[in-house]
Amino acid sequence: MTNVKYIYSEDLLRYRFSDSHPFNQMRLKLTTDLLMDLGVLTTQHILKPRVATDEELMLVHEPNYIEAIKKAGQGTLPESEYEKYGLASEDTPQFVNMHENSALVVGGTLTAVDAVMSGEVTCACHLGGGLHHGFKGKASGFCIYNDSAVAIQYIQSKYKQRVLYIDTDAHHGDGVQWSFYTNEDVMNYSIHETGRYLFPGTGALTERGDGKGFGTTVNVPLDAYTEDESYLDVFQETVEAVCESYKPDVILSVNGVDIHYLDPLTHLSCTLDTLYKIPYIVKDLADKYCDGKVIMIGGGGYNIWRVVPRAWSHVWFALNDLQTPHSPIPKSWIEKYQSQAPVPLPETWTDELDDYMEIPRQKEISEKNNNTKHRILEWFK
């Protein structure tokens, strides 16, 4: 009997827009196999994801949108409708069976939620989830259905619990934010690279919720080239202040691993060191404030060979109170995948850093982030 569940099935790899699309769920298989080869993940831990029902999707999404996605997946949605539902862009193009495969992603997150909320286990992870850009009635930023938003609404409706949502993906979690912007029963925390250049362009410090929900949205926009030290400093202090003030029953965290300096889409310039620490910080908060109850899901991460498997492994390590292994990366794993990888696979758990850039304005950037931190801390004094 284990106390942590890992939601996985190879069917999750079918959430795939095209062979050349940067969102590549091969990273799930790479991570899962790495954990298996290490011997820290066994079939005993694994729960298969279920498919979310239409009623569950409708906790957040509009019925006409769900219908449109079904039709698009069968190729029967008229092209003239694509624009309206966000399917006309290169980010979220139509793909075969997109409804079924997206509903499985949501179902995976709900499987994790049920495992934790029913008391079967204390914590669970579903690295296939974390599609935080999906809107009520529109696909956006690689996301069709918003599993995080559905899960939050599901926890509220079915279990009547207070949720703290923590989103450490490099991109602002806009879909989740707008779903709960006026809702006082969800605390929505997102730390991300500023929208000055980066998609989606929102997530400013001044977006704090509206009406009754004012104060239950916290955005921590960090400057490009923030780097480890400033990131960890701002994250630790602000997330703790939010958690302490809100006193959640359960935490749902999105673990995008695109803040790394080798990520092709972003500029935060952190190393594995920060990515390794984040899940432990969140797990500690859950232990301190929610009797350990936490659901960790995936998110972005577009360097699928050199960053994602090692970083996501630490989500599993943190949930199981394990540390970074002393032994190198298992040879069996490297042998299995090296032929498919366009770059040499990593042999150890640390960054090589030979291609790490020195940031000339680091002092100013840190100072600016520090101002952001203090403004947020003011709200919780």
Binding site: E90, D91, G195, Y197, Y225, H267, I365
Partner: protein, 214 residues
């Protein structure tokens, strides 16, 4: 863009025979800072702002009784000769009124009746919406020579890549008036390819802090 697109309508008004206290209560309740004053036919008589009311009341440091001021008629302190506009006026034109007159709001009049109001906040929100902040997108900034056809050449690259441009802002480089900054908000989470193509054609793409992202 027309005023009727951005105005708040219907708008809260108050009759000229009401007291300053009535106006204060109404503004607090509706969370507004500008109140047009009308007669029984909804014709505009004047306007007051929260600041006018504060000026009319005794200082909290003085011993005067504020109730005396509160019971006075609102028409005692209202501003007459109000700058007004029509629902079919251009937003660009009333923007200049705001800019030059340092005013906080402009009532909208049709058939001699107050039918709406535009405040500084509406103007700012309109500007923000124009910049595209309400739609998810990545921002690309390019420093270009101010010459005919530059925009055409650049947007062609986006067309080839099938990337939707949500909006474009162009402004002159104050330090070098032969150059312009072009800000494109695009519907794409992954602008890497565009960066690459722009740089291949020797366009100067602005990176955060001048850093090159490899």
């Amino acid at each position: 863009m027309l005023v009727e697109k951005i105005m708040t309508s219907p708008c809260t008004t108050i009759r000229g025979d009401k007291s300053i206290e009535d106006a204060l209560v109404l503004m607090t309740q509706k969370e507004i800072r500008h109140l047009p004053i009308v007669d029984e036919h909804d014709q505009l008589l004047g306007i007051i702002s929260d600041r006018d009311i504060k000026m009319a009341l005794p200082s909290i440091l003085s011993d005067d009784d504020p109730n005396q001021s509160l019971s006075l008629s609102i028409s005692k302190i209202m501003r007459r000769n109000v700058i007004r506009c029509h629902p079919l006026d251009f937003v660009e034109d009333i923007a200049i009124d705001f800019y030059e007159m340092s005013i906080g709001s402009i009532p909208v009049i049709r058939d001699n009746k107050v039918i709406g109001i535009v405040t500084q906040k509406d103007m700012l929100n309109t500007f923000l919406e124009l910049t595209g902040v309400t739609m998810p997108g990545s921002i690309i900034e390019v420093h270009i020579d101010d010459k005919v056809g530059a925009l055409h050449d650049i947007t062609g690259i986006f067309k080839e890549q099938n990337i939707d441009i949500l909006n474009v802002l162009a402004y002159t480089d104050q330090e070098n008036i032969n150059k312009r900054y072009l800000m494109l908000r695009i519907k794409s989470m992954n602008p890497e390819k565009i960066y690459q193509l722009l740089e291949e054609k020797e366009y100067h793409v602005i990176h955060p802090f001048g850093m090159k992202h490899d």
